[in-house]
Symmetry: C2
Subunit: 340 residues, 2 copies
DNA sequence: GTGAAAGCGCTAACAG
DNA sequence: CTGTTAGCGCTTTCAC
């Protein structure tokens, strides 16, 4: 059986309270007593029970993290960032992957409540959806009564802190670059337009086009869903139609891959036969020195920021909610260029 | 304040024990009483405290997972697999990322002990090292007295269950393919030879070469460390030396990228000017339809298997230790071919 | 079927 | 400086 504080107390010939004092470094303990106790603890490799401690203190040092897919570079990096800060503060991280399913999200939230996590970082499966789903989610978040930071995706009229990416502006800027390069027929492969991140990026494109008095042509607007497959299919379609746009904006890393794959198959050269900028970086393309221009965000930092926000919120629970918008950088590699 | 079982009991006009019975679905409870209690629970969105429950039951439903880097496709997939099974069994997952630092690994283990996790899945920072480090690790694992599954990397004379990749055989088979293709000067960019996974893959190469009476030439053996940078540097070196091997084996996904990057820069065509097979798949290369042949493993499945092993171990703590070796598949895409 | 009481391992007043 | 005591919120006998 595992040792308890009582065992240690007996072995050290003191009371539990004294052991507790040295464990928590609280109150005064005679130097010799302390050393004796520390020795006993070490000799017996005693680990105080976080369970008992939490129950007694009526609080935990546990942070809950709920994300939709760990096997996605982006969320892997997010997790790394969160974990880093959690670790710096000697806290414990409880992790849940929802596989992008709302049912799992609900169960994850229940679990976090039962575990009495001190705070929660959540990327909801849905993003500003109008549905029943969002109502349920918000109710659950309210019920849980703990500090929550929404990450990457949010809810309407949120009452919680959030850390988001500058979706609108990044798409606007990328489009702007294509316009200034002198392209006329500028197209877009959108993301999932049911998600706010998808809509915002699309709006960024549209507004840039309007602001610069460019003609928006429906036939160059391809509605995707953030997946490689859909983007690939759409790209193949427009390639086969022989009516290619001059330049194209892709709305996330997977969309970019779908486009690139299609272009490769048809031997269409980026930066020569067609131009493009993508949102999101693609580590591997980058390593290989592929000339694809992109809007990058720092996911690890996003994780760190979210966790730091949570820590601040613990200090000041009643302060007004804060929303962080993570900046972006655009890396131009040549694919945005107009053919000579 | 949060509601407790006592609050629910009062509201339902019964005793705590009865509420506990319906919560745990244990013992007999009159139907009407049960329904009444369930209603009260629902109306008040009461979540029983896992902390109190664990303390009382003297056991938890929590699994600890310690991995070296979540922002690595491979470990992201591992985590996904583990999480999937944890979820199926309504357990809770506590996660730690060690950033490949042993100091963090030690602290993570302490934390898991304090959290009283029921079982642990661990990918140690080091792999079969001879050092003090490994002694310390093994001592800590023994002290923790809980079921442990070692994942991807192990320790010498392990007493714990393990799930590993078939490192030796996969390298052997890949080399064999290159040999049978008719290549003569077959080289290798090794991984980190301080890690057993690095050594095993290297041995697989050497033994295949010996078995087929191929000449092993030192100048074609490039010692890498599993990183893109090192592999890139080594590749550049041998390219500039003008003394290229006919074919080359790369020992992990990053090593492959380093090689490919260098080849691209020098305009050396895979499957034509030089041949290659790599260990590990590279999702992006695959998506793009790049003709790089590789040995693939299913990381998500590895995670699932590890977690299932843990569950079995709970059932039968004294059974002899089990070691799973995950199978591999080789996908030939043309890069292994000999030039015509 | 249900309730009362003891106890899980720890912390936190309160005495002394 | 140290020990005693009373919980924390739940489960689990043991009576009734």
């Amino acid at each position: 059986m595992r040792l308890t504080i009582t065992d240690i107390a007996k072995k050290a010939k003191v009371s539990k309270s004294t052991v507790s004092r040295v464990l928590n470094n609280s109150g005064y303990v005679h130097r010799e007593t302390r050393e004796k106790i520390e020795q006993v603890i070490k000799e017996n490799t005693y680990y105080p029970s976080a369970t008992a401690r939490n129950l007694s203190k009526k609080e935990s040092n546990t942070i809950g993290v709920i994300i939709p897919e760990a096997d996605n570079e982006f969320f892997g990096e997010i997790l790394t960032g969160i974990s880093e800060v959690v670790d710096e503060h000697n806290m414990t991280l409880i992790f849940c992957d929802t596989s992008n399913r709302f049912l799992k999200e609900e169960r994850a939230l229940d679990m976090m409540n039962m575990q009495r996590v001190k705070g929660l970082i959540l990327t909801p499966v849905n993003d500003h959806s109008d549905s029943e789903t969002e109502k349920k989610l918000k109710q659950k978040l309210r019920d849980s009564k703990i500090p929550i930071v929404l990450l990457d995706r949010g809810v309407k009229n949120s009452q919680w802190d959030g850390v988001f990416f500058e979706n609108y502006q990044s798409a606007y800027s990328a489009t702007e670059i294509l316009i200034k390069e002198g392209h006329k027929k500028i197209g877009i492969i959108t993301g999932d337009l049911k998600l706010k991140i998808g809509q915002d990026r699309y709006k960024g494109y549209l507004n840039a086009m309007e602001d610069y008095k460019m003609e928006i042509m429906d036939k160059y607007i391809y509605e995707g869903n953030f997946s490689v497959e859909k983007a690939y299919e759409l790209s193949k379609q427009f390639i086969e139609s022989k009516d290619l746009p001059d330049a194209i904006l892709t709305c996330n890393n997977r969309t970019s891959l779908g486009l690139i794959k299609a272009l490769m198959e048809y031997n269409i050269i980026l930066g020569k036969d067609i131009s493009a900028i993508g949102i999101d970086n693609n580590k591997v393309l980058d390593i290989l020195g592929y000339n694809f221009s992109y809007v990058a965000r720092d996911a690890v930092e996003m994780g760190r920021v979210a966790m730091r926000r949570l820590l601040e919120r613990f200090e000041d629970p009643d302060k007004q909610r804060v929303e962080y918008i993570m900046p972006f950088k655009i890396y131009l590699k040549g694919s945005e260029k107009k053919k000579p």
